[in-house]
Symmetry: C2
Subunit: 169 residues, 2 copies
C-alpha cells in the first residue's frame, strides 16, 4: 500500500485500520499471541522479508501495540511483547480465525481450537451482542452519532439518503 494515511479520518474503523490494517501486521500479531517474540523467530515463522519485518515491528512499537524489551542475559537479544493495547486485539485475531473456518475452512473441522485455560473447554465464537447477550446481525443494529460525532457517518448518511433505499440489503 502506498501513502494512504487514515490517521486523520474522523472514524474509529479508519483509525484502527491505520494501525492494524496490514496483512503482515495482523499475522505478526497472531504469531505474538502464539508466543513468538524475537526478530528471528518472527522471520522464521512468517517467511517475511527482514526489511518489512523491521518496518512493521517499529510501527507496532510506535503505536504502543508491542514493546521492546532487552533480554537479561544476552546483550544482543531483544523481545517484542504485546502491550495491553496489543493484547486487546485478541478478539480480532479470534474472530478472523472463526470467520476463516466458517467461510474458508475444509470439511475436516477447524485447524485450531481455542480453549479456556482454566477449564480446557472451547470458547464462544466472537459475535456482536445485545445488552441482554443475544447475538445480533448487522441488520439488528444501526449506527448513530455519539457525543463526539463522526463526519464520516454523516457523509455516508447523506450519500445513502440521496439514493434512497436505506436498508443494507
Amino acid at each position: 500500500m502506498t501513502r494512504s494515511s487514515f490517521a486523520d479520518v474522523d472514524c474509529g474503523v479508519a483509525q484502527a485500520v491505520e494501525q492494524l490494517g496490514d496483512k503482515w501486521t495482523v499475522v505478526i500479531l497472531r504469531s505474538a499471541f502464539h508466543g513468538i517474540r524475537r526478530f528471528d523467530e518472527f522471520s522464521e515463522h512468517l517467511g517475511i522479508a527482514a526489511k518489512v519485518l523491521a518496518d512493521r515491528l517499529a510501527k507496532l512499537v510506535d503505536a504502543g501495540i508491542l514493546y521492546k524489551q532487552k533480554v537479561e542475559d544476552d546483550g544482543r537479544a531483544v523481545e517484542y511483547k504485546l502491550t495491553q493495547k496489543g493484547l486487546d486485539t485478541y478478539p480480532m485475531i479470534i474472530f478472523l480465525n472463526d470467520w476463516a473456518e466458517r467461510w474458508l475452512g475444509n470439511s475436516k473441522g477447524p485447524r485450531i481450537e481455542v480453549v479456556e485455560r482454566k477449564t480446557g473447554r472451547p470458547i464462544r465464537p466472537v459475535h456482536v451482542l445485545a445488552e441482554n447477550g443475544k447475538v445480533l446481525s448487522a441488520y439488528d443494529t444501526f449506527m448513530r452519532n455519539g457525543p463526539s460525532g463522526s463526519e464520516v457517518l454523516n457523509r455516508s448518511q447523506r450519500i445513502v439518503a440521496r439514493r434512497r433505499g436505506n436498508d443494507l440489503r
Copy 2:
C-alpha cells in the same frame, strides 16, 4: 503490498487476512455497513483512486464477500451489496471501532454509537467469551490443534519451546 499471498498458509488467520487484510478493503466494508453501495458512492465516501476501488470491489466480489446487482430502472448502474459472508464480518468492524475508541479516542466520548434497532440500546463491546459468557483475555486461553491441525501452530510451538518462556507476557 506486493505479492505476498497467504492463500496457501495453513492458518485461518492468514487466510482471512488474505481476503480482508487490506486497509481499503476494511474501510470499503465499513462503508457498505453504512449503506453505501455504488461505485461513485464508495469513491466519494472514501476518496479512493478509481483504479484501486475497482480492484478491491472485484476482489471482494471474487471472494464472495460482496455481490454485484444490476439496478432495475437504470441500465448503467450496479450495486455492490454484502453477501452473508460479508455480513458476517460485522463483528470485526464493530471490534475495530471499539478498539479505536478505547485506544485512540478523544476524551469527548465515542464518535459513533452502535445500538440495537429494536430497543435503541447500545450493544456490548466485542469480546472473547468463555462458554459460560465470562470475558476472557488472551492469557485466559490457549490454542491447540483441532481435527485438521495447523502446521503454523506446530511451528510456532516448536520455535517458542526452543527459547522457553512459554507465557505470552
